[in-house]
């Protein structure tokens, strides 16, 4: 026990004195979530304000008084785009799609020939693409009104044109809609812990070997398992510190959210923060053990970094399973580290209820992994020291 404590204290001091690394990790982990949230909120509020403005940009509207009349009745205002709008759209400087109306619009409309309208946008320009749907539904509406009038003037019921009725109903509640935007936050949290633990984990294993301090360390009459537990404790503490700080960092982030609807939808209170921490603490602890177990076999820090790339990749990519998998949540997701934490956090953000199982199962998996890794490291310590 004394050994564990001595090793723990030493490793923690050592890790905390590695200021540059620590500051870089803390800053990035604590700031990344809020920054993403703020950027998202400004994008969403921009989209919202555009929707509220009810403006469309069109060229040649003077050729189409009928259309202008319809658009005005839908309470939209029509504006003229800058002359070089195509160039600006390409460069993402102009963020609205532009409707181009031919000179013979009214003439063709009167003859019953469908005039050709152009809607110019750039799919690489995200903001402009968002407006496309708006305009095209506006034009469809105009078309429908025209044909209904034509049919009515010939005594045909407009309903014959519409054999089927489609009503869009969005089942997602406000929280679920917000989760579409905040869905990437768990990924950032998991990555923050991963990169936060990495340096300390490598330093206490491969780093110790590279420095030539592992061999003398083992000439002390201390139990290897106790030493390993001490080392792991320090690395896990760094990971947990980062987990807690990044989970708490969403509080101040909330105040900075510009979009009112996102603010209303992003429900993140003390209860949510505590659930995040409860899920992330065992995860950080097991991640520390896994990174150390991979690194202990490596002779240098560099080699350990390369070997751990696999772990990093797996942990960062695993949450994608839930995105790609069309069948949605599966019971086995709960036993996959990374995926399980992602799942629970996503549920919390969506405001869905949690049962004890979704906390207990991943925690149990993390504990098992930690114990197995620690035993493995203790077993490998001696052979690692002298190779």
């Amino acid at each position: 026990m004394n050994t564990t404590l001595a090793v723990f204290k030493k490793e923690l001091i050592d890790a905390l004195r590695d200021r540059k690394t620590l500051i870089a990790v803390l800053l990035s982990s604590v700031l990344i979530g809020p920054i993403v949230l703020v950027i998202l909120s400004s994008i969403i509020s921009d989209i919202e304000s555009r929707a509220e403005k009810r403006e469309i940009y069109a060229v040649g509207i003077e050729h189409a008084p009928t259309l202008a009349n319809y658009v005005a009745r839908q309470t939209y205002t029509i504006k003229a785009p800058p002359t070089d709008f195509e160039e600006q759209l390409k460069k993402s400087k102009f963020s609205n799609p532009v409707l181009v109306i031919p000179k013979d619009f009214e003439e063709k409309l009167a003859k019953g020939e469908a005039p050709e309208l152009e809607l110019i946008s750039d799919s690489g320009n995200r903001n402009a693409s968002v407006g496309v749907r708006n305009i095209s539904s506006l034009i469809t509406g105009f078309g429908r009104e025209r044909s209904a009038l034509t049919l009515a003037s010939r005594g045909v019921a407009a309903a014959t044109l519409k054999a089927v009725d489609l009503d869009e109903k969005d089942l997602a509640n406000a929280n679920a809609r917000a989760a579409q935007f905040t869905g990437m936050l768990p990924f950032f949290l998991i990555s923050a812990i991963l990169y936060g633990c990495l340096n300390a984990a490598l330093d206490t294993t491969a780093g110790e070997r590279e420095r030539g301090s592992l061999e003398p360390l083992l000439t002390n009459p201390a139990s290897h398992l106790e030493m390993v537990v001490g080392k792991w404790g320090a690395v896990a503490s760094v990971g947990i510190l980062i987990a807690v700080m990044s989970a708490l960092s969403f509080f101040p982030a909330q105040w900075l959210i510009r979009s009112e609807s996102l603010q209303a939808m992003f429900q993140y209170g003390p209860k949510e923060a505590l659930t995040f921490i409860a899920v992330l603490v065992p995860f950080a602890a097991s991640l520390a053990a896994v990174l150390m177990a991979v690194a202990i076999r490596c002779k240098t820090f560099k080699e350990a970094q390369a070997s751990n790339t696999f772990v990093i990749l797996a942990v960062s990519m695993v949450p994608l399973v839930s995105v790609m998998n069309p069948s949605g949540e599966q019971p086995w997701h709960l036993v996959v580290p990374g995926l399980a934490q992602n799942l629970v956090m996503t549920r919390v953000l969506k405001g869905e209820p949690l049962d004890a199982m979704v906390i207990a199962v991943p925690t149990l998996v993390c504990i098992t992994i930690t114990v197995a890794c620690l035993l493995f490291i203790a077993h490998s310590l001696k052979s690692a020291a002298v190779k």
Binding site: K10, R211, V386
Partner: protein, 252 residues
């Protein structure tokens, strides 16, 4: 006192077709008394470091036995290590910790109390002349400063037995002299000191008894004068070359 009987160790190197076994140590037996400096002298690759590592319990021997003050290293490794101070080939310090913290860390691992640690570090600072270094971080220490700090760390628990692997490696004249003074002091205090080296000068100036190791076997043992006499050489270096290389070739 350290007694080593019939130590042997084989390593396998390479993989697949290139796989080969290397007999690092064939048969090493010796006894190092208390109050004496015993030297393991041998050329590079003679098996000195492997022998030292087996004594320190870092590698398990294929055969043979290590006893430290009568404690069997295999049966009671931790009890044995408590009576042993090891300055191994690798002597890395923690660069972000001060010299004092580096030394105190090992003392804690030996289960010493804080009061005892402070007292012991004061004694060691005096003995090894490292008072000025204690509060500095070891990052940027010179070779000599590193060696002294590592030595202090190795003997912080005041062990009866001391194992030093190539202690003068990379040291300048002054640092080497300071180390010699320190080692003689330990010997005079009744400690059992073993040093392994390939440097004749060190052996001539320090060792009370010498074991010449060649190709993993002890080929001769005596005092410096005794070895010279045995080989009919006035120069110790000539005597060593005769013992370590000629005899080994005769063996082969």
């Amino acid at each position: 006192m350290i007694r080593v009987t019939g130590l042997a160790k084989q390593f396998t190197a390479g993989k697949g077709k290139n796989k080969r076994t290397v007999q690092a140590v064939c048969e090493v037996s010796f006894e190092a008394r208390d109050g004496a400096i015993t030297g393991l002298l041998g050329p590079n690759g003679a098996g000195k470091t492997t022998t030292m590592r087996m004594i320190a319990g870092l590698i398990a021997p294929d055969q043979g036995r290590v006893e430290v003050d009568g404690i069997d290293g295999h049966a009671e490794p931790q009890k044995m290590l408590a009576r042993l101070g090891v300055l191994s080939d690798a002597r890395g310090l923690y660069p972000r910790l001060t010299a004092r913290e580096n030394i105190a860390y090992y003392a804690q691992l030996h289960g010493m109390s804080n009061a005892a640690i402070d007292g012991r570090i004061a004694t060691l600072a005096n003995m090894l002349d490292i008072g000025d270094l204690l509060e500095r971080r070891t990052d940027g220490f010179s070779q000599g400063e590193r060696m002294k700090t590592s030595l202090a760390r190795a003997i912080v628990h005041d062990p009866q037995n001391l194992l030093l692997d190539e202690p003068t490696n990379g040291l300048d004249v002054l640092a080497t002299r300071a180390l010699r003074v320190a080692l003689r002091g330990l010997r005079d205090a009744g400690k059992c000191v073993i040093i392994s080296t390939h440097i004749m000068q060190e052996v001539e100036r320090l060792c009370d008894h010498i074991y010449v190791v060649s190709h993993g076997t002890v080929v001769a043992n005596d005092t410096v004068d005794g070895l010279k006499l045995k080989t009919n050489e006035r120069d110790f270096e000539e005597a060593f070359v005769k013992l370590a290389f000629d005899q080994a070739e005769a063996h082969a």
